[in-house]
Amino acid sequence: MKKKESTLINMVFVLFAITLAAGLSLGYVNDITLEPKAKARLAKKMKALNVVLPQFDNDPISDGYLLKMAEVKDSVEIYPAYKDSVFAGAAITGVSERGYSGLVKLMVGFQPDGQIINIAVLEQKETPGLGTKMKGEKFLRQFREKHPASFDLKVQKDGGEVDALAGATISTRAFSEATQQAYDAYIIYKEKNLISDN
């Protein structure tokens, strides 16, 4: 076939046709992936909840709600867990923007008395092999069954009790900050909750 001439009408028509086809196909793919995308995000959240919460028989995601805190830009997400209608603990998100390359987002599980059950890393962009070790068992172990009231959630270098990741003090600091924020949110949540319970 002969190549189309570069006349104005040809160029406008071809570009219009191409962008139209591109737009339509993108819209179509967006429609069919919308549901799986939401499902994938939910599955990820559920997986984190299962890691940080004690046994529960409610649906923490539908019982969850957002808490507005003064010093936090986005709302804090709170997912309470109930077992036989008794409050068993809560999972709370903590965010720090002071990671080595930006945002670090955690999910921290608390016992009713405020003791940390476990921590899951939801989002991080730290250096692979260094800061990413915050997802490792060896690092997370030091937080389990610790009560933030008695366990100072600061890196040892800053006078706290958290053993920093080798070569990744900044990542560890962000992790500590996010954990502390989750704990602060938990205290507020508990006060509010007790008032509404009684």
């Binding site: 190549k3 570009l15 191409i18 591109a22 993108l26 799986p36 995308k37 092999g129």
Partner: protein, 201 residues
């Protein structure tokens, strides 16, 4: 482009003689950016292979319909559409890989390898030849990225495809996980690659 000999030549050139990474040094941004592990390299390579294949097919099919003066914007729109499709599909079905590759998925659009093949090959050759070219070039890219990722992961993290062969606290050459290590590893791999292929031919 008809005989199977030519076809084979066309396929192999992308892997050996004109390997996009080790010989032509194209698409350096994802090559250096995401290859901190063998798995990331493989995932990025396959995503690029898919986009390259689809864009070569479409460009080759419509080559006579696209006026010469607007061919570059036309190619870019076609490539960007396929990249966005890859991004949405990855997020929906392989969220793990989607998170790992992050910003580098949308950046496939500006990978000069893809536009380069559309411009210099698919817009001048038949559909079959363009498919073979895309597969060859894409495989060359996959192999290069996986090899680079594997070298960096082995040296920097003491593991390969997440399988560790040293203990978690062992001192590895962290430099290779960090950006400078990418340049160093790429340079030595390119030397070895060119040495071996020159001897073979």
């Amino acid at each position: 482009m008809g005989s199977s000999g030519e076809m084979k030549q066309n396929f192999l050139k992308g892997i050996i003689k004109e390997n996009p990474v080790f010989v032509m040094l194209l698409g350096m941004c994802p090559t250096l950016g995401v290859t901190s592990s063998a798995f990331n390299g493989l995932g990025m390579g396959l995503a690029t292979l898919f986009v390259l294949l689809m864009s070569n097919i479409v460009v080759s099919l419509f080559k006579s319909q696209i006026p010469n003066k607007v061919r570059i914007p036309a190619f870019i729109v076609i490539i960007a559409s396929f990249v966005t499709i890859v991004e949405m599909v990855l997020e929906a079905y392989i969220p793990f890989l989607y998170e790992q590759l992050g910003i580098f998925i949308p950046l496939i659009v500006v990978n000069c390898l893809i536009l380069g093949r559309a411009e210099s090959f698919a817009s001048k050759n038949s559909l079959t030849a363009s498919i073979v070219d895309a597969l060859g070039m894409g495989m060359g890219f996959v192999i290069a990225l996986t090899a680079l990722g594997a070298v960096r992961e082995i040296l920097g993290n003491g593991s390969i495809f997440e399988f560790r062969f040293v203990s978690e606290d062992a001192n590895t050459l962290i430099l290779f996980i960090l950006p400078p290590g990418a340049f160093i590893a790429l340079a030595y791999l390119a030397i070895v690659f060119n040495r071996v292929t020159q001897k073979a031919t």
